[in-house]
C-alpha cells in the first residue's frame, strides 16, 4: 500500500485529484489577495504501510494515508499559514484566504501560470514498495526474528518492525515555478530482550533509507540482526562509568548526534536571524580546531536526509557550515536567506502540509581528519569511549546540550576496558566544538532512522562523523 512514482507529467498526480493549473492560480491569487509579498502551496499525498512482529507472531499491520495542502503567505518576515485536507477548490481557496489574513492591504501581484521545473532525483528506487506484497514484508520480519533467536540462547524476546512510505509532493509558487517530488522512505527495526542470570536488558538496532526493497539486501539484513543482538548482549555485562568531567572519545557514525545537537541546531539560520542562537554574530569566526570541517548535505543518494528539492522549491545541496574550524554558513530557508542577503541553502523543510517550513538539517557530517582511531583512543589515559546513542537535546541560546549513550567503554591507559551503558553526557556546544582536538580519518555516515524534532515538527535526518576526541565533557555516571 504505497504510492508509485508518478509516470505522468509533473503536476498530473494532483490534477487527477482535481487540482488543475487553473485551480492553483486561483488559490495563489486568494493567498495574495490582501497584499502578501509571496506565497507557496505545498501539496502532499503520502501512503505508508507497517508490519510488526511481537511474541513470535507477525500480528499487526498498519496503513496510513495523508492528503492535503498547506498554504503560506509571507509579508516581510511575517507568515500566515493554513491548510486543508480537502482538495476541492473551494476548500483550498478558504485556506488561502485564512493564510492571507496576515497581510492588510490590496493585491500587489497575481500568480503566473504554473510550469513544471526539473528536480534532480537522488532517491532512485529499484524495487518499489508498490510491487512488494504484505506476504513478502511478513516473511522478512519473520526472518529477522529467527535470525536474532538463532544468534544467541540468551536472546529471550524479539520484536521486529518494517515500515515503508512514499510521498508525492508538489510545491507551487506565484512566479510560475512548480516542482513535483517523489519521496520514498523505509525503516527496519529489530529489538531484543536478553537475560543472563539475574541480569536482563533490552536494546536493538534500526536501519533507514529513502529506498525500496533493494535496501534490504542479504548483507544489510544480516547486519541488522547482528547489531541488534550484539547491542543487547553488550548490556548484560556493562556497568556504569564514574561521574564527572573526563575526556570523551566518540566512535565514528552514530556519535554524530553530538554534531547535530551541539552544533547543528545552533547553525539553523532562524535562531540566528532572531539573535537567539549562541552562534549569532560568529560568521567568519574561528570556532573549532583546524581539522574540523562540518557540512550539512542533502545530496547523498538514498540517505534519510536526502533532499531533491526542499519544501519551498529550492534544490537540495551540500552546505559547508564550518571549514577548517571557521564558521562559513548557516542553514537557510527563504526568510532567513532574504534577511542575510544570501541564497537559500535548500534547507527549508517541514513535517507535512500541516506546518510552515523552517531551516532544518539534512545529513549533518564532520569530514575525516588526519588521525587514526587507534591513536585517538591511545591518547586518553582515563576517559570514556562512546559507541552508540539513543537521543539528544540542546538549548540553542545557552548552548548546553546533552546526548544519551546506550553503549560505551571506559578508556584506561589508552586502552578500551570495562563496558558501560545508559549514561547521559552533557556539555556546552561551542565549548565542546572548541574542545574537539583530534579528528579521525574514518568518517562514517550512520545508517539509523534518526528523526529531528524542532518547534513541534519532526523530519527525517542523517548524520555522520569520524572518531573524535573531546578533551572534556560531563558524564552522568556513579560515585
Amino acid at each position: 500500500m504505497s504510492l508509485a512514482r508518478p509516470d505522468g507529467a509533473p503536476g498530473a498526480h494532483f490534477a487527477d485529484l482535481g487540482v488543475s493549473a487553473g485551480v492553483l492560480q486561483r488559490v495563489m491569487n486568494a493567498a495574495l489577495s490582501r497584499g502578501g509579498d509571496d506565497c507557496d502551496l505545498f501539496f502532499q499525498h503520502t501512503q505508508s504501510t507497517s508490519v510488526a512482529l511481537s511474541d513470535r507472531k507477525v500480528n499487526q499491520v498498519g496503513t496510513h494515508v495523508d492528503l492535503g495542502m498547506g498554504v503560506r503567505v509571507v509579508v516581510g518576515d511575517q507568515v500566515g499559514y493554513a491548510y486543508s485536507e480537502d482538495l476541492r477548490p473551494e476548500a483550498l481557496i478558504a485556506a488561502a484566504r485564512a493564510a492571507a489574513e496576515i497581510a492588510q492591504t490590496t493585491p500587489g501581484r497575481t500568480a503566473a501560470v504554473p510550469s513544471a521545473r526539473p528536480v534532480t532525483d537522488r532517491t532512485p528506487v529499484q524495487r518499489p514498495w508498490t510491487d512488494v506484497g504484505i506476504d513478502e514484508r511478513v516473511a522478512m520480519v519473520r526472518a529477522w526474528e529467527q535470525g536474532a533467536f538463532s544468534r544467541d540462547k540468551r536472546v529471550q524476546r524479539v520484536e521486529a518492525y518494517l515500515q515503508d512510505a512514499a510521498s508525492i509532493v508538489m510545491v507551487v509558487r506565484p512566479d510560475g515555478r512548480l516542482y513535483e517530488d517523489y519521496r520514498p522512505m523505509t525503516l527496519g527495526m529489530l529489538r531484543c530482550t536478553a537475560g543472563q542470570g539475574e541480569v536482563r536488558d533490552s536494546s536493538g538496532h534500526n536501519v533507514a533509507a529513502r529506498a525500496g526493497l533493494e535496501f534490504y539486501d542479504p548483507g544489510r539484513q544480516e547486519h541488522l540482526i547482528q547489531e541488534a543482538v550484539d547491542r543487547t548482549l553488550f548490556l548484560l555485562d556493562a556497568g556504569k562509568p564514574p561521574a564527572g568531567d573526563m575526556p570523551v572519545v566518540l566512535a565514528a557514525g552514530p556519535s554524530a548526534i553530538l554534531l547535530h545537537e551541539a552544533i547543528g541546531h545552533g547553525m539553523e539560520a532562524d535562531f540566528n536571524r532572531k539573535r537567539t542562537s549562541i552562534y549569532a554574530d560568529k560568521m567568519g569566526a574561528k570556532i573549532a580546531n583546524e581539522h574540523v570541517t562540518i557540512v550539512d548535505d542533502g545530496t547523498i543518494p538514498n540517505s534519510r536526509g536526502a533532499v531533491n528539492v526542499d519544501d519551498e522549491g529550492n534544490p537540495g545541496q551540500c552546505t559547508t557550515l564550518v571549514e577548517n574550524g571557521v564558521l562559513r554558513s548557516y542553514m537557510h530557508d527563504e526568510i532567513s536567506a532574504r534577511h542575510y542577503g544570501v541564497s537559500p541553502t535548500g534547507s527549508g523543510r517541514r513535517q507535512s502540509f500541516r506546518h510552515a517550513p523552517l531551516p532544518r538539517m539534512r545529513a549533518t557530517m564532520m569530514r575525516s581528519g588526519p588521525h587514526s582511531p587507534e591513536e585517538i583512543i591511545k591518547s586518553v589515559d582515563r576517559g570514556l569511549y562512546c559507541v552508540s546513542f539513543q537521543n539528544g537535546q540542546v538549548n540553542i541560546g545557552a548552548g548546553d546540550f546533552s546526548f544519551y549513550m546506550r553503549q560505551g567503554y571506559l578508556i584506561e591507559n589508552g586502552r578500551l576496558t570495562r563496558p558501560v551503558k545508559d549514561v547521559n553526557i552533557i556539555g556546552n556546544g561551542p565549548e565542546a566544538l572548541a574542545r574537539i582536538d583530534l579528528v579521525g580519518n574514518d568518517m562514517k555516515l550512520d545508517e539509523g532512522g534518526w528523526t529531528c524534532g524542532k518547534e513541534g515538527q519532526s523530519v527525517a535526518v542523517s548524520q555522520g562523523m569520524p572518531t573524535v576526541r573531546v578533551s572534556s565533557l560531563t558524564v552522568g555516571g556513579v560515585g
Binding site: N59, L67, N395, N424
Partner: protein, 445 residues
C-alpha cells in the same frame, strides 16, 4: 466532507466508515472520526510573526479479519478513496498470523463513566481572531514592560485556542462522542549573559476553559522569576545531594516509574517492576494516583483507549505498588484483568510544609527545575538526565546550576523519597507538588 462544515455529523461519518468496513469483509470494527479547529498567533518585535489556522478531519479504524488485527488511518475521506483505503486495509490484514487475543472488548466492558468532566468551554467560537490576537499582544507587551530593566535579547509571545471533537463507533453497537476545548498563552524570553550565552526561559498556561487561564500578569511574574534565576548558571561540583524536584518537572522522574508499569513492557519482559505488584517500590511516605475524573483536568476522560469506563485508582500507596497499566489486549496476553492502558491525570498528594520550609532544613541541596535530554531504561529502571536548577544552602539560592546530570535507578531513588511540599501544580495532567529526595547522585564540575 470538510472540517469547515459545521453541520458535519461525526457520529454519522463514523457509523458510515464502520458499515463500509463491515461490508468489505471485516468481522469486528472500531471506527473513529475526529475533527479539530485550532488557531495560533506568534508575536515578536511588536508584531505578528506567524498566524496559523488548522482545520482537520481524519478517520481511523481498527479491524479484525479472521482473528487478525490491524490499525489504519486516513485524512483522505473522499467517498471512492475511503472505499479503496478500506479494501486495501482488509486485504492487508488477511496476510497476518492470527492472534486470538486481538479482539475488540466485549460490549458489556464498554461504556462511559457518568460524570460531567466539563471538558468543553461552550463560549469558544471559531472565526473571531480578535481575543486571541489581543491575548498574544498583552503577553508580549506585559513581558516587555516588566522586564525592561533586565538583560533581555528577545521576547516571543504566543496565544492559541481550539476545539476538537471525536466520535467512535464499535461493531458491537457501542458508540460515543466527545469534545474538548483548549486555550493558552505562553512567552519565551532570551536573556544575555556577559559571556555571550543566551539562556532562554519559557512560561506557559494552557487550560480547557478560557476563564481558568492565569492572568497575563501572573504568567509574566512567573516567567520573569524563572528567567532571572537562570542567569550565571554553571555546573556545581559532582557529588550526592538532596534533590528538590520542582512541581512542574516531576513527570520526567516519575515517568521512569510509570514506563515499566505498561502492559506491553510487562508482557515483553522489558519491565523492572513486573514482579513488584503489591510490593514496596518507594518509601512508605510516597503515594501516587491516576485520576481521570478531575473536573476540567487536562488529562481527564470518561472512557479510556479501549472504550472502557474510567475510574480513579491508586498507582502507589504508602510505597506499595497497587496497579499496572494494562489494556484489554495485554490483559488477555498476560491473563490478568485489564485496568486501563495509559495514565490520565497523575496526582501526588501535597504535604503540609512549603518548599522554603523544606529547603531551609537542608545544609546543601540541588533544586532541579528543568531537564535537558537524557533517558531511562524500563528494563532496568536506570535513568540519567541532564538538569538545570539551583544550588541551595540552608534554603538560600547560592548559585544557578546547569550542564549537570542526575543519574541512578528509579527504585533506589524512590526509596530515598522523603516528602512532598505543599505547592501542588494544577495546570497540567501531572498534578504534583515539589518533591524531596535524599542522597541523589549528580555529576557536574
Amino acid at each position: 466532507m470538510s472540517p469547515t462544515d459545521t453541520t458535519l455529523d461525526l457520529e454519522a461519518v463514523a457509523a458510515n466508515v464502520l458499515s463500509l468496513a463491515r461490508e468489505l469483509g471485516a468481522d469486528e470494527v472500531s471506527a473513529g472520526v475526529s475533527s479539530s479547529s485550532y488557531s495560533e498567533i506568534t508575536r515578536r518585535d511588536g508584531r505578528i510573526e506567524q498566524a496559523k489556522e488548522s482545520r482537520s478531519l481524519a478517520a481511523s479504524v481498527q479491524l479484525l479479519v479472521d482473528d487478525r488485527f490491524s490499525t489504519h488511518s486516513t485524512s483522505d475521506l473522499r467517498t471512492e478513496a475511503l472505499r479503496a483505503f478500506l479494501e486495501r486495509a482488509v486485504a492487508a490484514t488477511r496476510h497476518l498470523e492470527p492472534d486470538p487475543d486481538r479482539r475488540l472488548p466485549d460490549r458489556e466492558e464498554l461504556g462511559l463513566t457518568d460524570v460531567d468532566l466539563d471538558l468543553e468551554d461552550t463560549t469558544w467560537t471559531d472565526g473571531d481572531p480578535g481575543p486571541r490576537r489581543r491575548r498574544a499582544e498583552a503577553v508580549e507587551q506585559t513581558v516587555k514592560a516588566r522586564m525592561a530593566d533586565d538583560p533581555v535579547r528577545s521576547i516571543t509571545a504566543y496565544a492559541w485556542d481550539g476545539r476538537s471533537e471525536r466520535a467512535v463507533a464499535f461493531s458491537n453497537g457501542f458508540s460515543f462522542s466527545n469534545a474538548r476545548t483548549s486555550f493558552g498563552m505562553a512567552a519565551t524570553v532570551s536573556l544575555e549573559e556577559p559571556d555571550g550565552r543566551l539562556p532562554e526561559a519559557w512560561g506557559s498556561c494552557s487550560m480547557l476553559h478560557e476563564s481558568d487561564l492565569w492572568t497575563v500578569d501572573q504568567l509574566t511574574d512567573d516567567l520573569r522569576t524563572r528567567a532571572l534565576a537562570q542567569l550565571g548558571s554553571r555546573p556545581a561540583p559532582s557529588g550526592r545531594y538532596p534533590m528538590l524536584l520542582d512541581r512542574r518537572v516531576v513527570s520526567r522522574v516519575l515517568g521512569v516509574l510509570l514506563a515499566p508499569l505498561a502492559g506491553a513492557s510487562i508482557y515483553e519482559q522489558r519491565s523492572c517492576l513486573a514482579d513488584h505488584l503489591g510490593k514496596k517500590v518507594a518509601s512508605p511516605s510516597f503515594s501516587m494516583f491516576d485520576d481521570p475524573l478531575v473536573t476540567r483536568g487536562v488529562g481527564s476522560r470518561n472512557t479510556d483507549g479501549d472504550g472502557r469506563p474510567t475510574r480513579r485508582r491508586p498507582i502507589v500507596e504508602d510505597g506499595v505498588l497497587q496497579t499496572f497499566f494494562i489494556d484489554v489486549y495485554n490483559g488477555r496476553r498476560l491473563k490478568r484483568p485489564p485496568t486501563t492502558g495509559s495514565a490520565s491525570n497523575i496526582v501526588v498528594p501535597p504535604g503540609d510544609r512549603s518548599v522554603s520550609e523544606l529547603a531551609s532544613a537542608l545544609p546543601k541541596a540541588i533544586l532541579v527545575d528543568g531537564f535537558l535530554g537524557g533517558n531511562s531504561n524500563p528494563t532496568t529502571g536506570d535513568f540519567s538526565f541532564g538538569i538545570r536548577g539551583a544550588l541551595l544552602e540552608n534554603g538560600e539560592r547560592v548559585a544557578a546550576v546547569s550542564e549537570m546530570n542526575v543519574s541512578g535507578n528509579i527504585l533506589s531513588l524512590m526509596e530515598r523519597y522523603t516528602t512532598a511540599a505543599s505547592d501542588p501544580w494544577l495546570l497540567g495532567s501531572w498534578r504534583s507538588p515539589t518533591l524531596l529526595f535524599d542522597d541523589v547522585q549528580f555529576s557536574g564540575s
